[in-house]
Symmetry: C2
Subunit: 201 residues, 2 copies
Amino acid sequence: MAEAKAWPPGRIKIADALRVLLETKDFGAITTSEIAKSAGVTEALIYKYFKGKRDLLYQLLSEYLEHYDVQVERDLKGIKGALNKLRKLIWSHINVYATDRVFAKILLLDVRSFSDYYTSETYKLVRKYTEILLEIIQEGIKNQEIRDDIPPVFLRQAILGSIENVCLTRVVFDQKISPDDLTEKLCEFVFKGIEHGASKN
Amino acid sequence: MAEAKAWPPGRIKIADALRVLLETKDFGAITTSEIAKSAGVTEALIYKYFKGKRDLLYQLLSEYLEHYDVQVERDLKGIKGALNKLRKLIWSHINVYATDRVFAKILLLDVRSFSDYYTSETYKLVRKYTEILLEIIQEGIKNQEIRDDIPPVFLRQAILGSIENVCLTRVVFDQKISPDDLTEKLCEFVFKGIEHGASKN
DNA sequence: CATGCTGGGTAAGGATTCCTAACCTGATCT
DNA sequence: AGATCAGGTTAGGAATCCTTACCCAGCATG
């Protein structure tokens, strides 16, 4: 909430330490003592600033999400048309995963299995992002750019699923993510579907 | 491998116990002692039959997958046309999640974050299933039913992602999954995309 | 100046959890 | 009768997450 840089040094060191560790290990394999050692503080300090190991992860993810939300808002400025906005949103989404591997891993792999994640403050930030996507879809339906015979919420889930799964496999197997290339293909798929015919330009 | 029912009673009780526990708790919150108690055996017996807690989960998932693979193979028999097969496959996929909530939870939430999962025997079974999907897509491209300007492997990832994400949200928030309804919507999305126009029948 | 208080940090320990090594026991084979 | 073996148990240990109580520098206040 308070986004002022009033954070004590210990807290910053801890969050940074986890960030670094996540580059090479998965969250489940990282221990609190490891984080503490890596941060140069004692284990107990972690529990001063965070409710627990998971809360630390959530707060780290929140930081990423706040940055990303701002970025997306900026990226979409000045773009006309729902489909054009959607294309840009997809690009931004893929691009952030391509840039911040750790962010991708947390969001796509680690937090998903924690049931308390879905009631966390962090998840609300994700909702805020998906809300943007929903609004674009609704705008597109109003404009006649997007078909109106499938519920927007459903479309959102399907679109997000395809974006994330395409990135997920690349994250898991440590393959390169090319935002431009993937965006192009994803938009072709999402906009026109897989049926032969409509794509004959 | 050996699909003979030659399994000792203890092993069965342990697997059953986990299955039951997974109905109400997530894997991370289930302890080995809890499993043992619930199964009516000692903790050490778990390690007689399984390499560890995770291996137990993987093997449980493998059982589900073996059943499902057989089911899918059956479901697809006698269907002509790649798109018709794909529709049926999507239905089967959604249907199994609708039927076996525990299976869905394991596959969509629990195992994904374990990095050793992706090198496990269990994951090979998943590959076997996704291979079927790939073959359908390739058949469709050959037939001219499916567009040929997006790589089949990419299409598979995108399609699977949309299926799974649609189900995932329902699994997470304990909402009902209606195979018929979701299949209809998903096929509309996957076949024709979101653009307005092509859907004017 | 003493006093108290507050924010940042530490020391020490405890319950739980996952897992292992060694042992037991009844059945089957020879 | 002795050996072997599958199915199971007893007992324990290292590691992990987390809590409680404590330390101490700075600094505002009377």
